[in-house]
Amino acid sequence: MPVQVRGEVLDVRRAGGYYVLSITAPGIPEQYRPGHFVTVGIGGEESGLILRRAFAIHQVQSRGVYGGTLDVVVGVQGKGTRWLSERGRHDTLDIVGPLGKPFILPKEGVPCVLVGGGYGSAPLFMLAEQLRERGCRVDVVLGASTEEKLYGVLDIKRVSSMLTITTEDGSSGTKGRVTDVLPDIMERNNSAVVYACGPMGMLAAVAAIAAEYRAYSQCSVEESMACGIGICMTCVLPVIGDDGITRMVRSCVEGPIFRGDLVRWDEIGTIPADALGAPALDMS
């Protein structure tokens, strides 16, 4: 069950184009599973920025002098993330978590491939560790537009069987996109499961490749959300249910991890005509 806690910032450090915040968050690390996220209140009690920002949990430590702590990776995209990047040691933050449904792990040690776009690599580190513990081969592919937008290359190398880097400008690794190198990696390692976190376009392409290779895919989506706890209905996307019916589901509580073959990627941002409750007529 998620908790709302007052967290204390222990450290803020630059990592390429990102900031990594370490925060005390008693009650959250104890419940953490890879894929969970937290939301953070922005700007304090009088803030005009009223919407919480959501971040995938990057790392947790449930013991130590501070009790439970967690790390999040922040990319500065606007006023709210700018404010967060400017926090200092001992500042307090309003944290809610753990939220969402985590990644599903295979029962057996099957070969897995983890794909991270930009700071979408953040939730993959502890996932990789847990997969390795289960005896899985863990290939990792990190991609970004440019080297500065890659996150955690050195750290993830330690937990991956093989790491492949792609950048669109060729500043690091293979020039191109993660999807340019993924088929080869899957082919070579007979990958059974693909885990992915990154922009929607990347997830859609990764899910398609996974389907082509008959691999199971788990995609962590990033939809803009107001509440993160399932009450605002803003973060919906069309997902096919077990009964074959498409519903507009909340990515915060029913995701953020979805099976890649069940998300109707091309129709995100629309209401598919056959979705449950879709308007019979144009409503506009």
């Binding site: 709302q4 806690v5 920025l49 803009s224 009450i231 605002c232 209905m233 507009m248 209401i271």
Partner: protein, 340 residues
Amino acid sequence: MTRAMFGRGIGSAAEPIPNTDMSAELASLSMPSPVLTASGCAASGRELDQFFDITKIGAIVTKSVMLRARSGRPTPRMCETPSGMLNSIGLQGPGIDEFIEVDLAWLEARGARTVVSIAGESVDEYGKLAQKLRTAGGVDAIEVNISCPNVADRNQVFACDPEMAANVIQTVRRQSDSQTPIFAKLSPDVTDIAEIARSVVRAGVDGLTVINTALGMVIDVETMRPALAGVTGGLSGPAIRPIALRCVWQIRQALPDIPILGVGGIRTGLDALQFILAGANAVSVGTMTFNDPSAPMRVHNELALALSERGFSSVSEAISYGHRGADIFEADGAGEIEPE
């Protein structure tokens, strides 16, 4: 006053220190607190129950339910604005039958007081919704969301026309259990909100929810298109608080006795106090629940303290206190009430 900002175990869930009598009435609905959730900002209570005990606040006002399952509008449905947000959800929901079977049943089993918000596209639909609720258990009051467009009448919003608003209320009143109080949720997007209020009161409403969101718009300067897929959306949050407060004040002056549920950008106990002083009998915490999932309980506790600090021993003593000295209240023979 100090704000206990955080949830369970950190402060806000603790009992309020002061002895203030926090009981509140909205028509025939008696509640242990004057703080409710707001429709569309609490789903059906289950998620918030993880953060505070939902039976301790006044009531859960559920997300407006329609006759049939509805997918809502495409994304983006939301955009942050200065001290607020714009939304265009399009009333996504399961439809009344599943709502009664799943959500209402859960709320009843949980022991929460429930105000069921209903929305229709025609007068007939509102009537059918009221009929369905008549035989359902756990309905403590009905809030009629008349701020949706009437599809039959060229998308005219019911709440913006006194006659259409009254038609809806008459129909709901006729189809509902006579013991169930009915509230009409009014839109601020009208020239004279008191006129709409008088019209629905004449049509038999038991109370008024004041206000729904104000229609707004944002253009994304990167794409140079409207930020919401629905183009326009409802503006909510602290940005609209002064508008909501003004509406409560105007309606209280026009209708001294009608129960009012004040809504609009309430973030703290002091915000809630403003609404009560303006004439609200109870208040809803809406959008700020997205900001702080413990907000309704926290606002309750902060309000108890704020009332006590000002010498009020109960919520009821403070209702309309901001109007003291005005003719409308002296005519009732009440005169000016001084807190202890």
